[in-house]
Symmetry: C2
Subunit: 238 residues, 2 copies
DNA sequence: CGTGGGGTTGATTCTTATCAATTCGGGTGG
DNA sequence: CCACCCGAATTGATAAGAATCAACCCCACG
């Protein structure tokens, strides 16, 4: 249960049994998906959020010239689509990366939760703020770092988001998807992995990524984990 | 009063007198700043948000190698720092671009507002979601568009955020700051303005920017205003 | 009058994209 | 069990886009 939505919230703060069962209602309607399946098309009415209980997924935008930019990488316990709360039409596409269990729930359900639990209201605010911080760091990544730093930074971020306990994990994105996340071509992702391997920072075999020298890698990527570590003092008590 | 924080919220939805006066409490402690003044340093304890009542400001991160990335452009009526609600230390620097009136208020004040007004709670959620959408569009901009498209897109976005009524306005960023916003060098911003001028899309004189052919510019930049136009159906009624 | 900061322009270099060919590995069908 | 096939990854050659460096202009301001 550590990776479901309850786990995500418990990682932020202590929550009561009542709040736990409220959160569980968001995961009632699980649906199973194969990899590379579109969960929600862009330009479709979007009346739901989606909790991801198992597997990986991403959101992307396809541009007029056919280019693609990936916006979010969703991991278990995360909520897909929060940023579109005020829009009737989605402008992003949600796609699975692996086999996944996805639980849609109506947007209005969120307001109900706000009504029922001030504590969860605060925590949802914290969640959306954290998402924003991740986007802000990606802007820094895209705007002002080299290809190798971008990739290194992204790998470390993913490691931390996965729980930070392991220095080896499966990165479920092809090099083309990595490129579309980091604003690079797939060819250059390949070269960049080679660059990082040659410097003894990262080993890689298929999806498997092993961080060889975490300290050097963080230094190289200018990675500061602050933006993923929130404190919850400010919130109301449960 | 249209450009203060009350105006921002009224643009989203109808709010009651009680809510208006709640919002006004956020603007009680106005402070005047000259241009290019640091309002909040990075790595300092951050216990406040800031409402901007007059003028322009931005947030930025300085990287290890001295490079800078600008994350937000704050316009009157916006709230600075929302994304850092869960952090005790700021990792961004807030700086004025023009003479400005800035109103700090303690973070805890937000929780109080959540307590007092469910309606405003929803709207604050909408505000932070909208900010997130702006960041997401900048990611697309940085990741997958040419320099000229980036600049064009940013100019249109700013026009819309300023109220969208005028095709001519003062863009209060030097070319160096524009570069640090869009991940380009200041020299290249200069060339890119020339490029857009040569194509009859934008005229410019000092800070003054005139959009000559909005339709062509939007087409060129692949600009879709959806992400700035929210709908508030989902929220609780005031 | 200087002086200094921002903007422009040209020449050159560097990073990354693009295009093309080749390899690798996993899955399929005979 | 093997031959084949396909998609992804790798590698090399070349091109494009933007950075960098340097010179110069413009002008606001003391």
């Amino acid at each position: 249960m550590d990776s479901c939505i309850v786990g995500q919230f418990q990682r932020l703060a202590n929550i009561s049994d009542k709040e736990i069962s409220l959160l569980r209602t968001l995961e009632e309607n699980a649906e199973s998906y194969q990899p590379d399946v579109i969960i929600q098309h862009e330009d479709q009415p979007s009346k739901h959020f989606y909790t991801i209980r198992k597997g990986w997924a991403y959101s992307s935008r396809i541009l007029a010239d056919g280019d693609r930019q990936i916006l979010d990488i969703f991991l278990p316990g995360h909520i897909m689509g929060l940023r579109e709360i005020g829009f009737n039409k989605s402008t992003y596409r949600f796609v699975t990366l692996t086999q996944a269990e996805i639980c849609p729930f109506p947007k209005a359900r969120l307001t109900e939760i706000f009504n029922e639990s001030p504590r969860l209201t605060d925590l949802f605010f914290l969640v959306i703020a954290r998402e924003q911080s991740i986007l802000a760091e990606r802007i820094i990544n895209l705007g002002r770092r080299s290809a190798a730093q971008k990739l290194a930074h992204f790998v470390i971020e993913t490691k931390v988001r996965l729980g930070n306990t392991i220095d080896e994990f499966d990165l479920m994105l092809s090099q083309e998807l990595l490129g579309d996340t980091l604003g690079l071509s797939s060819v250059h992702i390949s070269r960049t992995f080679k660059f990082l391997r040659d410097r003894g920072l990262i080993e890689r075999d298929g999806n498997r990524v092993k961080i060889v020298d975490l300290e050097a890698l963080m230094e190289f990527a200018d990675f500061n984990p602050c933006y993923l570590e929130q404190d919850v003092q400010w919130a109301r008590q449960g």
